[in-house]
Symmetry: C2
Subunit: 521 residues, 2 copies
């Protein structure tokens, strides 16, 4: 038994209680689906955050394949007060990967629940299970010749729509605000009930994937970035694949151009001339995703000097800011809209327009074009090679889509990062009325000193941004409680009231987004 048993236990649970629960998991799920040995748990321990991985080590990982099994897991966890951390594909890189928020939680891995339940080619809808990846769905659409287009985050091939949407991730197409395009959820509650949102609970209904709100309170949002239930099915909308897609780039020479860029883009986005989630990516983002490593330029520690950034910009033919957008439609629609873009750019008087033909299949244009037209790829993982050493934290403050605001955020972030010897590797994305300002805090996790610097840097980013009224929309598990503080105590009190009502034993992912009944709210 001893080698079969994890050395890590859930908080406040005795070894014997835990073992009893494990036996019940085995009876429910089969031995193969209950992992407790250290070597088996390795995939659930890897994190990119600065804190010691031991703080995120799970006590066990269990794999469910049906909704009934998920209900069974919840029942057992209630019986033994075992906290359970649910993952779908488990590839939430930079936000906590597959590891639980608190040491000792049992990982409930749903990657084997990977059925594409339905895709409606006419209505442009899909219903999937947690383990379905974007690549799987892409292949399904291709094989069945379904003229619908996916929208996904950059780790597209291995991530999935359910997990990404539940964490309110974004993508690069006109459907890039994924939670806005979500339609219908099935959720296992802590009491074991299987609750369907929207129209999903009407017997014989067929509108679950077409009408978001249903009747009475609309609760889909309550289950996102939260721990009030386990989502076992999710519906969402897919855009019809248009006759023509025309991705293009506009390169801007100077880092100070950011304010003008945002002012240039916003009216075009608001008027839907540019309908997709525009990206404004900094030099290092684009260089790093395409195999530029810091060691190619310097082995000095600390922040990379501006002269080197300029050199990289020149060597790789990049802008200080690289704007990616795409037009979709008939040839005539695309032509009219492209003329409007060109006209606005002429008025702006700066920025170099690059078309797909001009880019000629080169990177980073090529992978950006793929992201904007729904073709999965893994190019962006190149980011992790910039400094190497496996450290990455997304710092993602929300900004108004206003030039002066984006400029302020950029300057502040760069200052703080450089002060801590790290680089600004960032992009602005979405840009309808807000910008998700997404910065990859990259550092060498194998270097203790750098790890500590990165941690201090992230704390300072949170503090200084908060002082100016900026909060982040999403964060890795190490900082989820800290970020919850940015949003004030009234919100936390309400969230904990809901938690007490819905999950009195505090078994579902306690700590997620700072919601944990062990906190005093």
């Amino acid at each position: 038994m001893s080698e079969q048993t994890s050395t890590v236990l859930p908080k406040g649970v005795t070894a014997s209680e835990f073992n009893t629960a494990v036996e019940k998991f085995r009876a429910l799920l089969g031995d193969d689906n209950v992992l407790v040995r250290n070597d088996q748990l390795t995939p659930y321990k890897k994190v990119m955050m600065p804190r010691d991985a031991a703080e995120n080590a799970p006590s066990a990982a269990v794999t469910a394949t049906t909704v009934e099994q998920v209900q069974g897991v919840v029942r057992i966890c209630n019986e033994h007060k075992i906290p359970v951390w649910t993952i779908s594909t488990g590839n939430n890189f930079g936000y906590g990967s597959a590891a639980p928020v608190e040491r000792g939680q049992v990982v409930l891995d749903l990657k084997k629940m990977n059925r594409i339940i339905s895709v409606d080619a006419e209505l442009g809808t899909a219903l999937v299970e947690p383990g379905v990846t974007y690549q799987q769905l892409y292949d399904y659409l291709e094989e069945n010749d379904i003229p619908l287009m996916l929208s996904f985050s950059a780790p597209s091939a291995i991530a999935g729509p359910l997990g990404n949407t539940m964490d309110r991730g974004v993508g690069y197409t006109p459907y890039g605000e994924h939670f806005l395009m979500q339609c219908g959820m099935e959720v296992v509650l802590a009491n074991g009930d299987v609750y369907r949102t929207g129209m999903g609970s009407v017997e014989g209904d067929n509108a679950w994937q077409v009408f978001k709100w249903g009747y009475g309170p609309t609760l889909d949002g309550m289950f996102t970035q939260a721990n009030y239930g386990i989502c076992t099915k999710m519906g969402f909308w897919l855009m019809p694949r248009p006759p023509v897609t025309k991705p293009f780039e506009i390169k801007f020479e100077d880092e100070t151009d950011i304010a003008d860029i945002v002012e240039f883009i916003r009216p075009l986005r608001l008027a839907q001339v540019i309908p997709n989630s525009v990206v404004i990516a900094g030099t290092l983002w684009e260089a790093a995703t395409c195999d530029t490593r810091r060691v190619h330029y310097t082995t000095e520690p600390g922040a990379t000097p501006d002269e080197i950034l300029k050199q990289i910009q020149k060597d790789k033919d990049l802008g200080a800011w690289n704007v990616y957008a795409c037009l979709y439609g008939t040839p005539e629609q695309v032509e009219v809209n492209f003329n409007i873009v060109k006209g606005a750019l002429k008025q702006l008087g700066k920025g170099k327009l690059v078309t797909e033909e001009e880019a000629g299949g080169t990177q980073p244009f090529d992978y950006r074009a793929k992201l904007m037209t729904g073709v999965p790829n893994l190019q962006e993982f190149g980011l992790y090679n910039w400094r190497g050493g496996g450290g990455s934290m997304w710092f993602a403050p929300v900004s108004q889509a206003r030039g002066s605001e984006c400029d302020k955020q950029y300057a502040l972030a760069k200052d703080i990062l450089n002060k801590h010897g790290l680089d600004y590797v960032g992009e602005f994305i979405v840009g309808w009325r807000d910008m998700h300002h997404v910065i990859d805090v990259l550092y060498d996790r194998s270097n203790d000193e750098e790890r500590k610097r990165a941690e201090a840097c992230f704390n300072e980013l949170l503090d200084e941004f908060e002082k100016r009224g900026y909060a982040v929309y999403r964060v890795n598990t190490q900082f989820q409680d800290r970020v919850a503080q940015s949003y004030g105590s009234t919100k936390r009190r309400l969230e904990h009231t809901l938690k007490r009502a819905l999950d009195p034993n505090n078994i579902l992912a306690p700590g997620k987004s700072g919601i944990d009944l062990n906190n005093d709210f």
Copy 2:
């Protein structure tokens, strides 16, 4: 004192307890803002539903002008277990108007809280209080030359964005799914807390009206069509007014055309060639809104015969179905999209296209064009004159935007209405992936026999649609508990768990959407 006191009391509250509460209301709000005399309460008693108005009679109505006063009202209601029914502009016609769901509830009227707190012309956002009407906001935009366009329901001038959106109403522009375009709420909870959704609780934040979700669970939806809080501020998005708007109509001759129409429209809507919430309105809707009364054609009781419908269609130059859509953009964009519409219509091989120029300012084209371009009007109130007598209930089942489904719903609704001696006065609206099938069950409320028939008819509509898997998205207060049943007991159990947690004294609008702690869930 006696003439000062209502003859109606809240359920389970003694006269003396009620009088104590009323005295506290007076101390808090001033005598003028506490109405208890029968004559003062008349505006809060008028309903269009079949049941006896006495069943909706309030015990009192109080008017708050500040958030602090709303908190005070909630405190007093908690102290004395007084149920409170909140209204904003109070013009929720056909869904319950200003009257509470249950006899004896105190109406909290927020129409005096009518500040337009902010409008951002660049970002296209607004933040308003409950009492702000669309007309007021329209005038504000005009007076300040702000190039933004409103989206509203048909009773536009007197209704308001906060109330309409909280009830998940829809409009006719590209922003017609109003709750989708909502961004940020301030809500007074039953415990007196003032909770802000999204970014609203971050100190010094300015992204409240640009980013919907915030961090952690997103709870805006929980407060819509529900009774978990009182919304005191709401943010939402406004569309930039485009250089050109081109409303148009397509008339279809036969009622059996509905399936083809929906199949024709859906791809154009999904591809955003037609970006607005399209309407497909039946003959009687268009005739009635424009002063055609039933008595002009017949004085026979019962359903209006098909021959008369055909005659009206001919006399008023209407289609059996009248499709209204609008294009927005630069002249070039509008031309390209109009050509696509014309091409698709040619392929369809039926339907008569009418442009604004061809309509020449006539009705119903003119009011439809106004609704699609954000100009408030009250034309649609003409519906109430079709039969007269003040009876109206919206029956609004959700349908897939699929021809066969809309056809089925239309035939079923017409059958049931005619069987009960009433007419199909309906339209389909929105039509991205779903259709809101909105039918005005019009009847003579002053005629007891007809009132009973209408009630039986509405019950049969609900029953027969439910048997086929169709549920409604919204309903008048008389039927809110009945409709909650269509969505099953798991959902109701969850909603009541939330109610117990958030409002243990059951003081906020008990009965709304069937949520009432006196129900056993």
